[in-house]
Chain length 205, copies 2
């Protein structure tokens, strides 16, 4: 009687195969330049098959995008060892920046590209749990800092957004290559230096 279960398992396996193939192609050639036919060729199925597992190309994109947040969150948990909330906040920033620079294509998928949130918008905007969880984690850490007297006269939500924006700004300018011309001589250190300057400012507040 376990035949339905086996079929379910096989279906899940092929779904996973599609995602693996799509991921490797997306990260290698970019989302736009990867076609459904490319993915189909790699897993040796016909293009039409893919549409039995995913509604459209965006749904594949979105499924991968979720995995990225799990990766990021997994790296974040180590900060729980740090007793001081401001140290935790800074560690979060470091982890965020390192994740982005080590996985620029995944970061691009998660925070820069427009497709995934068009998908979210279509599915009634209730699905970006991953992004929400990450932001809430930042907010609660900042809350603890403020409870200990840091950042007085500031408002938690706006300041959280500002901090997120700062690290996002640095890595996204770097990933989308706006530093290459403007900061040609220190391309590869500017994000680290910017982050240090940021931590310096946080310490002084």
């Amino acid at each position: 009687m376990g035949v339905a279960e086996r079929k379910e398992r096989e279906k899940e396996e092929l779904r996973e195969q599609i995602l693996t193939a799509a991921k490797s192609l997306f990260l290698k050639k970019g989302v736009e330049k990867t076609s459904i036919r490319n993915i189909a060729d790699l897993i040796e199925y016909s293009p039409g098959s893919i549409y039995h597992y995913f509604k459209d190309k965006d749904e594949i994109f979105y499924a991968l995008h979720q995995g990225g947040f799990q990766q990021l969150m997994a790296k974040m948990v180590v900060i729980n060892d740090l007793p001081h909330p401001l140290e935790r906040l800074k560690a979060m920033g470091s982890i965020y920046v390192h994740f982005a620079l080590e996985n620029p294509d995944m970061y691009d998928l998660m925070f820069i590209k427009e497709a995934p949130l068009d998908h979210v918008a279509r599915t009634k905007a209730l699905e970006w749990n991953e992004g929400e969880a990450t932001f809430k984690f930042l907010r609660s850490t900042l809350r603890e800092c403020m409870d200990q007297g840091y950042f007085q006269g500031q408002e938690e939500e706006a300041l959280s957004f500002l901090i997120w924006s700062t690290v996002h700004g640095m890595v996204s300018l770097s990933i989308r290559r706006r530093c290459e011309v403007v900061l040609a001589d220190r391309q590869d250190t500017i994000v680290k230096d910017g982050l240090d300057a940021f931590f310096n400012i946080l310490d002084r507040l």
Copy 2:
């Protein structure tokens, strides 16, 4: 004998027509979803014609992208009226953010999309004069602030990058719609509030 000049003028006019049509379509439908055939239809020429004026779609994109910087710089010059350098710095931030939110598609072209700098990379990375000029303007303003004793213990270049990243981060998260879910209740004020918090921090340094 002015026939060559007239022909030159007519050629330039058609080039301008293509750019105007492309701009209106890019801003209305997005770059990706605007086809060469769409542009050709709008100016009532054949698709092939366009390739006598522009090497490819990217070259059209890049030509428009240059115009955006001229717009932004034109708005920036008004800050020269402000005598205090820190006020000038903050005014630059406001102008930058307002420009981005009022012309999100143009901002997208200039600072978020990947295409224009791929073009720059191909043309040996020496062409992003526009972006460079804008950044130099920020640096010189920050220099003046530091000369008057602000931001002590910071390094000019890294801090310039950090400031640019902060405003870029806020507007790009907004433009690429990462606030909608995470900050649903104050979507339309969060960038302004974030900017105020930023100015508040700058004042305290």
